[in-house]
């Protein structure tokens, strides 16, 4: 049933948010600390476990996949409901932040590529390249 997939997704999100909230209280920041990230990790682990035990039929998968495929439309809706008028006064900030970040990260690509090839006997990086 499709709802099993959606329920699994909902379960992961709720557990993640609760864990994030608890972590926030524990650390004394009073905010949700990484709840969405925890939920994602949980979904990866749980779905992998279910898949290996053959407990993840197509309908169940569809219950999750619908929500992941609707992700960009939701982001568009999110963008459309932000306080852009106020943000536009700081538009330069967005531009400067975006441009400098991209340039810095592009410059790091050859640096990291070279680092890896230095240790060619590293089996991990080789298998990563071959996959």
């Amino acid at each position: 049933m499709v709802i099993y997939g959606t329920a699994l997704l909902a379960f992961c999100m709720l557990v993640g948010l609760v864990a994030g909230q608890l972590l926030g209280i524990l650390l004394g920041v009073g905010k949700n600390v990484g709840g969405v990230g925890i939920a994602m990790l949980l979904l990866i682990v749980l779905s992998d476990w279910l898949r290996r035990r053959d407990r993840l039929p197509t309908p169940t998968q569809q219950g999750v996949l619908f929500w992941s495929s609707i992700y960009i439309p939701i982001v568009v809706a999110m963008a459309a409901s932000q306080n852009v008028v106020k943000a536009a006064s700081g538009g330069w900030l967005a531009l400067v932040a975006g441009v400098t970040t991209v340039l810095a990260c592009l410059a790091l690509v050859p640096v990291l590529s070279r680092l890896g090839t230095g240790g060619e006997d590293n089996p991990e990086s080789q298998s990563g390249a071959k996959e």
Binding site: L9, M13, L27, V29, K31, N32, V33, G34, G35, V36, G37, A39, M40, L41, L43, I44, V45, D48, V64, S68, Y71, I72, P73, I74, V75, V76, M78, A79, A80, S81, Q82, N83, V84, V85, K86, A87, A88, G91, L93, A94, L95, V96, A97, T101, V102, A104, C105, L106, L108, V109, P110, L112, S113, G116, T117, E124, S127, G128, A129, E131
Partner: protein, 265 residues
């Protein structure tokens, strides 16, 4: 004609069509977003030859609409302040957004994660920290002094998803969240358009460098479109590491990185 002139005012009157759309505002929002993305896909193909991904155009249109909505209503929630379109605020609110983001992790296989290897993991962590660092520094340079806003704008420099997720976790204003989305959007569009031109200089011509590229850049739409314009064979390698980026960013942003920023500011 007589019939039309009879029912048209009633249909458009305050008590029928407008109220009907208002009552079903979430459905109205779904239709509107679908229409926006249809226009975005057409613009992507006809105007940019597919070089700029429809999602980036769609988000830009969304931000532009939010601007128009904010000007006309004087409110703080962009298009969602237009009562007819209040559903946009529900559809794009943190509840559905977080659910959809978590759902994207479903496509990730555990063995893929380990196959990414050490270089993939290093590039991911480095990419996230460098983006937060630069975005945060720029925010500081523009006068933001609270750890929450600095972290959120740094998160936006990671991706336009990590920004708002971090921002809502840290309770910042919608204005700062909008800024983080805009910064992420600039990054995404730049990666899409710049990649084919700089590919030679940065040695982006083999699966391994594509994998590192994906981890450093992180913006999935930017990486996928940029690599497709460079060499379509490289797309899966870059996209693989990039898909981990958002999750890792959402995990580290409102936690470790926020605490680091907090301790510095």
């Amino acid at each position: 004609m007589i019939v039309l002139s009879n029912w048209l005012p009633t249909l458009l009157g305050k008590h029928s069509l407008v109220v009907l759309l208002e009552k079903n505002s979430l459905i109205t929002a779904m239709f509107l977003v679908g229409a926006i993305l249809l226009v975005s896909s057409l613009m992507s193909r006809k105007l940019t030859g597919g070089r700029i991904h429809p999602s980036a155009i769609g988000i830009f249109i969304g931000l532009a609409f939010a601007y128009v909505g904010g000007i006309t209503t004087g409110g703080e929630h962009g298009l969602a302040d237009v009562s007819l379109l209040a559903g946009i605020g529900v559809l794009g609110g943190s509840m559905f957004r977080d659910l959809a983001i978590v759902a994207t992790a479903f496509g990730v296989r555990l063995q893929e994660f380990t196959a990414t290897g050490l270089s993939g993991i290093i590039s991911l962590v480095l990419g996230i920290f460098v983006s937060f660092l630069i975005g945060g520094l720029v925010a500081y340079g523009f006068g933001y002094r609270d750890a929450e806003s600095i972290t959120t704008i740094g998160a936006g420099a990671a991706t336009y998803i990590v920004g708002p997720v971090t921002g809502s976790a840290l309770d910042v204003s919608s204005e700062v969240i909008a800024l983080s989305v805009a910064a992420g959007l600039v990054k995404s569009i730049l990666v899409m358009t710049l990649t084919p031109f700089v590919a030679k200089w940065i040695g982006l011509d083999n699966p391994r460098s594509a994998l590192i590229f994906g981890g450093l850049m992180g913006t999935t739409s930017g990486v996928a479109a940029g690599l497709a314009a460079t060499d379509a064979k490289l797309v899966p390698y870059g996209a693989m590491t990039a898909t981990f980026y958002t999750g890792l960013g959402c995990l580290l942003g409102p936690s470790l990185i926020y605490m680091i920023v907090q301790s510095i500011v």
